[in-house]
Structure formats: structure tokens, C-alpha cells
């Protein structure tokens, strides 16, 4: 039973990680007053860039950075459209959601002999599983002579943390960093100020355009990380369907989390754990259709949203272009 709990917790962490990065991207962008529904498209380019660079360089860290840069470039595009040209932010976001997969497929075909799927990355060239050597899998534990409760405990930790990639821990650290920057630094205050009342911020000498550019590009970088957390850790290759709706779930998690990094984290974990529970329940022969069962995460999220979270209020100037 306890091992099942470890499995559910492990699945929760695995599932939530790409969402956490992307939701943080959403938090930063929207706090600065720019709605970013292009998260999905940015995730796709990130996932592709990560998988492709990872395959060619064999270095997961370079690949992870490349994914961030690719996402950041799309963030830049969104910023140019929304901040400089005052375009409708929703429209620009939708355009990015089309452009992201389009460019990824286009490049994939050039780089991989016409294939829309990248070749898979060797296990050793993926993100490292930091705790795997401390909590190895059962066979190795038995070989090492672990028994009884110690074996039980180590096994639990293996299922929970031993198979988790570095991206998981980095996501949690990033939540803290974003929280710190947004609420404890001058820069964070400026970001939130241009999201709440750009005119006032402008009058006080804050460069609204520059701040928003910074926030939107960062949002792209984080979404790129989110995509790479998928293609460099959860699996080891990119295919067109790899990111299907994750960006939108992250967007929802951000709103659900009241536009706050810690809230978004909890929302992502909630969604991930509901998925973990679905997988756990799915192994039993319930005579319940798997289609019904797989609605569980969404229903659970809805129920909790309605009953516990209460009203979430967006930053006042969210979605409104600022014209001097």
C-alpha cells in the first residue's frame, strides 16, 4: 500500500513538472499585464529545441538552455506584437500556438531526414536522475544486501524520488525564485506595478515597455523549460503530439493559483496528483470505463476550484495594451 502511495507521489511530481515551469511563465507575463495564451506554442518549440539539441550535443544542460532560448524567442515575438504594436494579446497568443508547432515540424524535417519525430536521446544523455544513485531500484538494493524495513524504506524512496529527473527539483527552486523576485525585489514590484496600473508606474519613471518585454520574454523562457522537461526527462524525443494541451492546463493552473507562483505550484501539484490517482485506480478492474476515470483530474480540479479557492482576481491591467 505504501509503495502505491510512493508511486502516486512520484507520478504527481513527474506530471506536474512541465506544468509548473509553464505556469510560472504565465504568472510572470500576466503579472506584468500581458496575457499569454501562447504558452502552449512556446512549450512546443521548447520541447523540440530540447530534444533536437540534446540529440546532437548529447548534453542535457545545453539542450535545456537551448529550449529556454527557443521559448524566449517566441516570448520576444509575443512582446513585440503586444507591447510595441499594441496588438490584441489573445490573437498574438493564438498565432504563437500555431507558429510553435509549425516551426518545430519544419525544422524537424530538415534536421531529421524528413521525420516529424526526433531520434531518441540515450538514457545517459538525458537530464540526470540526481537521487537515483542514493535510492536505486529494487534489484540493486537487494544485491547490495538491504533487507526488511530498510529495504522497504529505500524502495519507497526509489519510487518517489529515485526515478525523478533534475528538472523536478529545479522546478521547485524556480517557484521560490519567482516568488522572491515578484514579492521581495524592486524588479518584482515594478513588474506588478505595470500589471496593475501602468500609467501610474509610468508617471513614477518605470519603463512600462521594457518591464513588459522582460516579463514576456522570461515567460517564454520558462515555457521553453516546461517543454524540455517533457522531451528531456519524461520521454527522450519530440513528436508533434508530445505537447497536447499542457500549455493550456498550465494557463488554467496559473489562474487557479490566483496569478501567484505558489498558488500555481499547488494547482499543478493538485492536477498531477489527480493524474497519479487516476493511473493508480486504473489498474483495478472496476467495470468503470477508462474514459470516465480519466475525467477525474478535471472534475477534481473543478470541485476544488468551486469549493475552496474562491474568487481569483487578475492583475487590473492584464490584457490591456499600454499606450502613452
Amino acid at each position: 500500500m505504501l509503495h502505491n502511495i510512493a508511486l502516486i507521489l512520484g507520478t504527481t511530481l513527474m506530471y506536474s513538472t512541465p506544468l509548473i515551469y509553464t505556469a510560472l511563465g504565465g504568472v510572470i507575463s500576466e503579472n506584468s499585464g500581458v496575457v499569454n495564451i501562447g504558452l502552449e506554442g512556446m512549450m512546443v518549440v521548447g520541447a523540440f529545441a530540447g530534444a533536437a539539441v540534446g540529440y546532437f550535443t548529447g548534453n542535457p544542460w545545453i539542450a535545456f538552455m537551448a529550449a529556454g532560448i527557443a521559448g524566449g524567442l517566441f516570448g520576444l515575438l509575443h512582446a513585440i506584437a503586444c507591447v510595441t504594436f499594441h496588438a490584441d494579446q489573445i490573437v498574438s497568443g493564438i498565432a504563437i500556438n500555431f507558429l510553435g508547432p509549425g516551426i518545430s515540424l519544419f525544422l524537424s524535417r530538415i534536421l531529421f531526414d524528413g521525420a516529424t519525430m526526433t531520434r531518441s536521446i540515450d538514457l545517459n544523455n538525458k537530464m540526470p536522475r540526481i537521487l537515483n544513485s542514493i535510492f536505486p531500484n529494487e534489484n540493486i538494493l537487494i544485491e547490495k544486501g538491504y533487507e526488511g524495513t530498510r529495504l522497504f524504506f529505500m524502495n519507497f524512496m526509489n519510487l518517489f524520488l529515485g526515478n525523478r529527473y533534475a528538472t523536478v527539483y529545479m522546478a521547485f527552486i524556480l517557484v521560490f525564485i519567482v516568488w522572491f523576485v515578484l514579492y521581495k525585489t524592486k524588479l518584482g514590484l515594478r513588474i506588478r506595478a505595470v500589471g496593475e496600473h501602468p500609467k501610474a508606474a509610468d508617471t513614477l519613471g518605470v519603463n512600462v515597455a521594457k518591464t513588459r518585454y522582460l516579463a514576456v520574454i522570461t515567460s517564454g523562457v520558462f515555457s521553453g523549460f516546461g517543454g524540455a522537461a517533457m522531451s528531456l526527462a519524461i520521454v527522450s524525443n519530440f513528436r508533434p503530439t508530445l505537447i497536447s494541451g499542457h500549455g493550456f492546463i498550465a494557463l488554467a493552473a496559473m489562474i487557479f493559483g490566483k496569478w501567484k507562483p505558489q498558488g500555481a505550484l499547488l494547482a499543478c501539484l493538485l492536477f498531477g496528483s489527480a493524474q497519479g490517482l487516476t493511473v493508480f485506480l486504473g489498474q483495478f478492474d472496476f467495470n468503470v470505463s477508462s474514459s470516465i476515470l480519466s475525467m477525474l483530474p478535471y472534475i477534481l480540479t473543478l470541485v476544488i476550484l468551486i469549493s475552496f479557492v474562491g474568487k481569483s482576481v487578475a492583475p487590473a491591467a492584464d490584457g490591456i495594451p499600454y499606450k502613452k
Binding site: 509503495h3 508511486l7 512520484g10 507520478t11 513527474m14 506530471y15 512541465p18 508547432p101 515540424l105 524535417r109 524528413g114 521525420a115 516529424t116 519525430m117 531520434r119 531518441s120 538514457l123 531500484n137 519510487l159 526515478n163 517533457m230 519524461i234 520521454v235 527522450s236 524525443n237 513528436r239 508533434p240 503530439t241 508530445l242 497536447s244 493524474q275 497519479g276 487516476t278 493511473v279 493508480f280 486504473g282 489498474q283 470505463s289 477508462s290 474514459s291 476515470l293 480519466s294
Partner: protein
Amino acid sequence: MLNKKVVVLLCIAVLVVAGCSQAKKEAAIKVAMVTDVGGVNDQSFNQSAWEGLQRAEKEIDIKASYLESTQDADYKPNMETLFDAGNELIWGIGFKMADVLSELATMNTEQKYAGIDCFFEAPTPNLVGVLFREQEPSYLVGYIAGKMTKTNKVGFVGGMDFFVIHKFHYGFLAGVKEGNPDCEVLVQYADSFTDAAKGKAIANQMYKNGADIIFHAAGGVGDGVIEAAKEQNKYAIGVDKDQNSLAPDNVITSAMKRVDNAIYNLTKTLVEGTFPGGTNVVYGLKEGGVGIAPTSYKHVSAEILEEVKGLEAKIIAGEIVPPTSSEEWEAMQ
């Protein structure tokens, strides 16, 4: 301001033209296909279909072309574009096109249509449905899994819970039982063809519960299954195409669907004037429409492969009939 608009419009025009450009050459008979959302190089289904058409182009006198769909709503417009281009036969790749195909076939009675993985209740004389006996290769890989498991437990991860996947599911069950009557099979559906993370979570759970070989029939979900096999150093069995390249040390075999052969054969009937309009054609082992992966020898012993050959012969001869649904499976017990 005007300049900006002109530039934007030009960009759009360039993109549209680039997106639509499709070489048009005069040839005896034109045959075209519409891919589903996977695109023509999906390393699976659509690619296999296109390879079949290309082979037909090389070996028999036809001119092949394709249009890709990026969303379900593209199927119909794509078909209409190909209709206007004067194609003799238009292929739809994937079960999702069945409705569009039968609608268009009723409308354009002179135009021939065919659909891969499509079953038509009452096809019009210009329409052919092509189905595969997926249960047959599934039976064979099930046999291999039953023979090779060391824990007497294997797993099956299905995509969505519906009849096409049931053919894989129950064919596999019967094969495992043939290979190893004591072997338990864990079964779970992901209810998705794209959610790789869910596939990985399910596979991790199955491996944890003692399975050492998992067969997936779940598209992109299977990437997660194969990844889990890689991480846990266990075995997996691929689907549709030879998936050994995804994890050369872990994918022991694959249940292949030879869409290319089906497309080639049916296109050939068009040239020969024996197009089986108004029917559903079924491809199995006998017709070379399904099989196990050519790389199987890397992990599966020659002895087992020899036995598989024997089973293949029996299936072709009709001595073994792998089940396609839970009813047929129950009836066998």
C-alpha cells in the same frame, strides 16, 4: 501604416503559397492521400501509407501526391482539393476520416475513395474500407512475451478503449496464453493517444507490480511506456512500425501494420481494373498486411522465432483464430 499592412499581407501570401505548393505533373492515373493530424512523416501510419503510394508510383504507372491535415477539420477541405485536382483515387488515412469519406463518396459518385482503418456499413460502389487484422501480430507478440517473461507477468497498455484497440488487446491475451498459460496479463487503458507521461506512469506501475514485458497499442502514449522500460531496464513491445530504434536494448519486437502493402495492393487493383469498390477489404498475415518486426531477432531467440513462424502458418491456414473482442475472448475460455 499602409506599408505595414502590405508587408503583413505579403508574408501571409508567401506562407499560404508555400503551404499549398504541391508539384503537379501529368501522368496516366493520379492517386492522392490525405494524412491525419500526424503528418506524412510521423514514423508511423501516415508515413507507411505514403511509402506505399511512392512504391506504387515507382512500380506501376501512377502519379502520387498527398495533403497533410493539421486538425480534424482539415480532412474534408483537403479531400475536396484533391477531388478538384482530378485524382482517380483519394485515400483517407485513419479511422477518423470514415465519416467524411462516406459523405463525399455519396456526393461524388464518379470519384473513387478509400480509407485506411475505416469500416463502412454500406459502402457505395466507389468506396472501399481497408481494415487490418491487428489481432494476428498481437497474438504473435503475445506469444513471444509469454515465452520470454521471467516473472510470469506481462502488461498491455491500450490507447483508447474501443474496437480497434480491442483487437490488439485480446489478440495479445490469447497469444500470451498460448506461449505461457500461467502468465498473468495486467491491462490498463490510458484513454489518450498523446499523453506520454500517463503512459510512463502506467508502465512504471506495471513494472512495479512485477510485469517484465509491456506491449503498448497507444501511439504517443507508447513513447512513455518505452521510456519507462529504458529507465527500469525492462522489456517493451512496440506497435504499428518497428519501434526498436526508440530503445534498441529494450524493445524486443513490434506488432506491425503494413499500411504500405495495403495501399500498394489496392492502388494496383485500380490500375488493373479490379478495384473492389463497395466493399471492406481486410488485410492480415495472409495478405502480408501485418507482421512482427524484422529486428525481433536481436532479442528473441531463434527457437522462439521458429515457433512464431509455425503459429503464423497456422493463423494463415485458419487453424488459429485470434480473438478480436472480449466476447470472442470469453468464448475461447
